[in-house]
């Protein structure tokens, strides 16, 4: 696994776009009126019903204003109908505003990105030039220090530092070089040193930047499966309340009470789940936005939702659990081999090894006074007598054929296999040393020359701080962690134990990793993983949540359904939290919305039936028995109904910040979390409107005199 992710342990959060930034507010206000278009509203059944109600009450008011009688009977004053109509319109506007705000924040991010897509001129390798927008897949371009990379691609030649702050927000430049797992470059980023040749890998208009803009803008937003299911539930509730309200009219007439259309519509709007109906799409957009602010690009809303469901996290040991770089700390020769001899062989076999491990072996060898037979940087070009054997996941060895000798270093088993293939036999001490190092949590690399094992290199692994706490955290969330490593079982077990991870996959090949994911999925579990190498691509594609590192190869970035711009593998934990937050926010606001109805009944129904079956005697001759249900002691029937509708409307903008921020997720176990949220949003949802409606009534009745 690449170690390029080593220095990314940081919490870079994209600057949150303030909710009250002036231009966002203006745009949102305009949009919320523009979205009153019924063709937009029809997609949201709950708000569509409110809008129809607004239209009918407005017509009623117009009739009353010109001296007519209110529709459906009753003797309500025109101001009442007018007030209800206004607040119903406001209910729809507030709902639109919630969505517009959420979109506005995404749009602000997109605008920044769009500015980067300035028209650049690409220098082709053949010397000609071409506009960046005309580049097609397969074009080769040269980019030198100070220039913008014209399009997404793979570095085919050279090494350069690249400033990717435009898309990652990280100011420190990163290294991009040909071959390996750090070859992918993104259009719009700037080369700050050296020169590279880039092969363009995207057709025009489909670049990473284009996709990113579309995503944060919400242009490609589709309803997620859970959102659809919730929408159906809301539509069902709306349907039942429509019947409840429609049948109330004949029931009222039977009892000698005629109820006006305006009041019936007010009751309907108060009952249907407008709060969640208004905020549902904002919650979804905000979920994507929260990912973006954590520098994660979710390629679909579905992926965000799935991340809340993750059961198993596959974490690469290197860079995630340990500090990436295992460093050589000791050469342990086999009997009959001198330390210097081992050091020299180890150094030679590592000269072409660009990994930090390889470099650390060369550094350690220098302490034995050993120098490379050729200068740095020349090995791949000039020295023809050295034939380098690169590391491959199958052989799990690397090395060099030099001066007729085959020098190899690699995992113990692979080396033993190698020398046995050469007719040799491993010394009995080898196994003991390998096991000892493994038990101590280190990584042993065996070194062989032809058929002889020379000794073992001790690579030390350091576990990152705070991993144990994080894994406890994950366990409390109900997520199982599996460490994936190429190390042997002993080493893996030791590190797994120290770091507190639940399980491990040792001696992992890409095939084994893919098989593990499939096995977990067949057991019904949702699997998340991170990856950056080309060989991770199949597993990334197979995983339910596949987070590709931005530093990774193009293949990896294509295979995953999320891209982490920070290339920080521990980000998965945050991703899962964002997914859970999104779902909790939906559930909490649905509960709140339905629980609110109790208070609304107690406000509106006594107002409607105050005179029903009045006896005409006693202290309140005009009041029937049901007036005792006016437990909030609201001023007049009209003020009671208006208060309920105002509360119903105002609660939407009041909850916009919560919808955008999301309800906090606490890893306290499902039952405790359910209890907590039921208490806050269920019980709170029953109590809050009693207080809110009473307060509004105090203002409009006692102060304004309604």
């Amino acid at each position: 696994m690449s170690a390029s992710t080593a220095n990314t342990e940081r919490q870079s959060e994209r600057q949150a776009v303030s909710l009250f930034q002036r231009d966002i507010v203006m745009r949102a206000l305009i949009d919320s009126v523009r979205k009153l278009d019924p063709r937009v509203q029809i997609h949201n059944p709950v708000m569509f019903v409110v809008e129809i109600g607004s239209v009918i009450t407005t017509i009623t008011w117009l009739i009353q204003a010109f001296g007519g009688k209110p529709l459906g009977g009753g003797h309500e004053p025109a101001w009442y109908t007018f007030t209800i109509a206004i607040w119903l319109w406001l209910t729809v506007v507030f709902a639109n505003m919630a969505e517009a705000f959420a979109e506005g924040r995404g749009r602000a991010q997109a605008d920044t990105l769009r500015n980067m897509r300035k028209e650049t001129v690409a220098k082709m390798r053949d010397g000609s030039t071409k506009a960046a927008s005309e580049l097609v897949k397969g074009d080769m371009v040269i980019v030198t220090a100070g220039e913008l990379i014209p399009g997404d691609g793979t570095v085919t030649k050279g090494i350069a530092t690249v400033d990717e702050s435009a898309i990652t927000g990280e100011s420190a430049p990163v290294i991009r070089e040909s071959g390996g797992d750090r070859s992918a470059v993104t259009g719009g980023t700037r080369v700050t040193s050296d020169e590279i040749v880039v092969e363009i890998t995207q057709e025009p208009g489909h670049s990473f930047l284009d996709r990113m803009i579309a995503l944060v803008e919400g242009a490609e937003r589709r309803k997620t499966p859970n959102e659809i299911a919730l929408n159906i539930l809301l539509a069902a509730l709306t349907l039942i309340f429509m019947i409840v309200v429609a049948t109330l009219r004949p029931f009222g007439l039977f009892a000698g009470t005629s109820i006006s259309e305006t009041t019936l519509i007010a009751l309907l709007v108060a009952l249907i789940p407008t709060t969640i109906g208004a905020l549902l799409s904002a919650i979804g957009i905000a979920g994507m936005d929260r990912m973006v602010r954590r520098n994660v690009l979710a390629l679909s809303g579905r992926a965000v939702e799935a991340s809340g469901d993750v059961d198993v996290l596959l974490l690469d040991k290197t860079g995630t659990i340990t500090i990436g770089n295992r460093l050589a700390s000791e050469f342990i020769p086999m009997p009959g081999v001198s330390e210097a001899e081992l050091a020299e062989a180890a150094q030679l076999s590592s000269l072409a090894d660009e990994t930090p491990e390889g470099r650390s072996i060369v550094v350690l060898a220098k302490r034995y006074g050993i120098r490379a037979p050729w200068g740095p940087g020349e090995h791949d070009l000039r020295n023809t007598e050295a034939q380098f054997v690169p590391f491959s996941a199958q052989t799990r060895m690397s090395g060099v054929d030099y001066q007729g000798q085959q020098l190899r270093k690699g995992a113990g088993d692979s080396i033993v296999g190698f020398i046995e293939g050469e007719g040799g036999q491993a010394p009995p001490e080898l196994r003991g040393q390998l096991d000892r190092i493994g038990r101590e949590g280190g990584t042993p690399l065996a070194v062989a020359r032809d058929s002889q094992v020379l000794g073992v290199i001790y690579l030390k692994d350091t576990i990152k701080e705070g991993m144990k706490v994080r894994f406890d955290h994950l366990r409390a969330m109900g997520i199982k962690t599996v460490m994936v490593t190429g190390d042997n079982r002993l080493t893996a077990a030791k590190i797994a134990e120290e770091s507190g991870v639940d399980d491990f996959l040792a001696e992992a090949t890409p095939e084994a990793k893919l098989a593990l994911i499939k096995e977990q999925q067949e057991g019904g579990r949702l699997v998340a993983m991170t990856g950056d190498g080309t060989n991770d691509a199949p597993a990334l594609a197979q995983a339910d949540v596949g987070v590709a590192m931005n530093t990774g190869t193009q293949a990896a970035r294509e295979a995953g359904n999320m891209v982490d711009l920070d290339s920080n593998p521990t980000k998965l934990i945050e991703i899962v939290e964002v997914g859970k937050q999104l779902l909790i926010t939906r559930g909490a606001l649905t509960t709140f919305s339905i629980a609110n109805d109790v208070a609304k009944y107690f406000a509106i129904l006594p107002a409607v039936f105050i005179a029903t079956y009045a006896t005409g005697v006693g202290p309140h001759p005009a009041q029937g028995p049901l007036h005792v249900l006016n437990i909030m002691n609201l001023g007049t029937p009209q003020s009671a109904i208006v208060s309920a509708i105002i509360f119903n409307a105002l609660v939407i903008p009041l909850l916009i910040p919560l919808a955008l921020r999301g309800v906090r997720y606490r890893p306290i176990g499902a039952s405790a979390l359910l209890r907590r949220n039921l208490l806050i949003y269920g019980l709170g949802g029953i109590v809050a409107p009693f207080i809110g409606i009473k307060l509004i009534d105090l203002i409009i009745h006692n102060v304004l005199g309604a």
Partner: protein, 596 residues
């Protein structure tokens, strides 16, 4: 209120639980095809029946095929029963089976009655002893008592199979489930029950009616009949249609305080046992316990309110100073419409038992309950019969509510909702949502039609009697209760609402009120079969789903938190749907000293 009263209630809950646990284990075995102690006795009969019915019990059905069998079977039963009732005296019927030579009831009343017995409602516009021949009672009504109960149970079993199913679309075989339900469940239990009832004085004969001379010198006709055999299944199958008009208040149906207690147990034992069977069939008994706890809490809550309200009396009784009169043997309170031998606790408990279930048998007059006491049956019906509920229907309706609660609660723990490891998606929510909506919608819609039209108001007794037109809370309560009861397939009534005018026994010169008969009939059929289809469709949708193993982050459906959530969802959905209508009926009456 008295200590004896409270003790009766507590003892009832304890004995019910003790009986339902082993019965639940037994039923789980029956439906998973395990051998039970009755297998050697009935195994050959079961196989013989399959041969006669040409059923291959090995052939499993998907939900559509299961539903098709169920509908065809129901339709055939409907036609047969209609034929029997309409030809009561048309062909040669032995004198013993129609000793009084009763004619058939008119077509509209018969339509209502047939739909009523088909759907396990047992709503009765007619009086058994003045309308039905013994043949109609035994071959017609009793048989449907069995079959409608059986259908309710098999739907619940099929839904459970869908919930726990791990492979494919199959939810069992309808014919096999029905045969097993009757052979291993209803039949043996009914025989035992009938024997116990006879021992207590419930009659079982084909005599002609007796004539008695009263102390005041008048004559009184005393109805006879094969009552015990019908009484057993009336209660066990939560049917509730009395052989006699006064139902379980009549000494021939419910003679003693012991039979009163025993009959209440009979009503609840199968619905309660099915809940435990559900737990066992899911492989986690706690799932059953959680639902049982939910039902028991709501049940005891309803009993408590009813008992306190009845023991306290109504405001009108207080105004008249009636509550202070301690009537011999009772502790005072509202004894109007109650039998002395049952007392207030025995009546309050009985009526809660039969209105939480779809039984609807009564041992006292619901319309004579106090406003609040009378609101309890309303509230029970408003909860869509999920508190134990009818045999099978209670469980499958409850499971649809569980699905809804899991969806809302599941989101709040931060996962897309899953129930017993299966993801709940748009399709399940749509089907369960519709399944839950149908009953309340039917009830409200029919009540609106009946109260708004003069044809509908004709059925209200007070409309005919009073000059004011009878638009009183009582008139509303009667109408609303009639359609709520029929929609919930309950069958109990706030008397006064009628669909049958019968000047004399034997149906000569009688006529039905077509509007009430047909509206009620369709109310029952629609509110029975539409939810059944939705429940079976949910079973089909869940059957093939992949199961995710539960973890720490999974919402549990077998702990107290979930019980609270479930109760909250049931109460909230019921209250929000019916609160306005309840206001204009029982609540107005409960809040006023004025008599209606």
């Amino acid at each position: 209120m008295s200590l004896t009263g409270w003790l009766t209630i507590v003892l009832f809950a304890v004995i019910l639980t003790a009986l339902a646990l082993p019965l639940g284990r037994y039923m789980a075995k029956v439906y998973t095809g395990e051998r039970v102690f009755l297998t050697p006795l009935f195994g050959w009969l079961e196989r013989f029946l399959y041969k006669v019915l040409r059923v291959d019990p090995q052939r499993e059905q998907d939900w559509k095929s299961y539903a098709k069998s169920l509908l065809i079977f129901s339709l055939a039963g409907w036609l047969l029963l209609y034929l029997i009732l309409r030809t009561q005296n048309a062909f040669y019927v032995p004198h013993a089976l129609n000793p009084l030579g009763y004619h058939s009831a008119p077509w509209n009343v018969t339509f209502n009655t047939v739909s009523s017995f088909m759907t396990n409602t047992n709503w009765q516009y007619y009086s058994g002893e003045t309308t039905m021949s013994y043949l109609s009672q035994m071959i017609g009504l009793t048989v449907q008592n069995w079959l409608s109960a059986g259908i309710g149970i098999v739907v619940a079993v099929a839904l459970i199979r869908g919930i726990v199913g791990r492979s494919g679309k199959s939810i069992g075989n309808f014919w096999q489930d029905l045969v097993r339900t009757i052979l291993y469940g209803l039949a043996p239990l009914s025989v035992l029950t009938a024997i116990v009832l006879v021992s207590q004085g419930v009659i079982q004969n084909f005599s002609t009616y007796l004539t008695a001379h009263t102390l005041t010198g008048l004559t009184q006709s005393i109805a006879m009949g094969p009552i015990a055999s019908q009484e057993a299944i009336k209660l066990l199958g939560t049917n509730g249609g009395g052989f006699l008009n006064t139902n379980s208040a009549h000494p021939f149906e419910n003679p003693t305080a012991f039979t009163n207690f025993f009959e209440m147990l009979l009503v609840l034992v199968i619905p309660a046992a099915l809940v435990f069977a559900y737990g066992r069939m899911t492989g986690n008994r706690r799932q059953g316990y959680a639902i049982f706890a939910t039902m028991m809490v709501m049940f005891l809550g309803a009993v408590t309110v009813a008992y306190i309200a009845e023991a306290h009396g109504s405001p009108a009784q207080h105004a008249a100073g009636l509550h202070t009169h301690v009537i011999a043997g009772s502790g005072g309170g509202n004894m109007e419409g109650k039998e002395q031998r049952f007392g207030i606790a025995g009546s309050a408990l009985f009526d809660v038992v039969t209105t939480v279930t779809s039984c609807g048998a009564v041992n006292s007059a619901l319309e004579s309950f106090t406003g609040i006491g009378g609101a309890v049956p309303f509230a029970n019906l408003s909860a869509s019969e999920v508190i134990f509920g009818g045999v099978g229907t209670g469980l499958y309706s409850m499971l649809l509510y569980v699905l809804l609660a899991v969806f809302i609660g599941g989101l709040m723990v931060g996962r897309t909702p899953e129930w017993l490891g299966k993801k709940l998606e748009a399709r399940e929510i749509k089907l369960a949502g519709l399944g839950i909506l149908i009953t309340p919608l039917a009830a409200l819609f029919c009540t609106a039609l009946a109260t708004a039209s003069s044809a509908g108001r004709k059925s209200i007794a007070e409309v005919a009697l009073s000059k004011s037109g009878g638009n009183t809370p009582q008139g509303f309560s009667e109408t609303f209760y009639a359609y709520l009861s029929q929609a919930n397939n309950n069958g109990s009534a706030f008397a006064g609402y009628t669909g049958f005018i019968q000047p004399s026994a034997g149906n000569v010169g009688s006529h039905g009120i077509t509007f009430a008969d047909l509206l009620g009939g369709f109310d029952m059929l629609f509110a029975r079969y539409a939810p059944i289809l939705f429940a079976l469709a949910v079973a089909g949708a869940l059957a093939g789903k992949r199961v995710t193993p539960a973890g720490l982050g999974t919402m549990r459906t077998d702990n107290p938190t979930f019980v609270v959530l479930l109760i909250g969802v049931i109460v909230l959905v019921g209250a929000l749907t019916f609160f306005p209508a309840l206001l204009l009926g029982p609540i107005v009456q409960g809040l006023t000293g004025h008599l209606y």
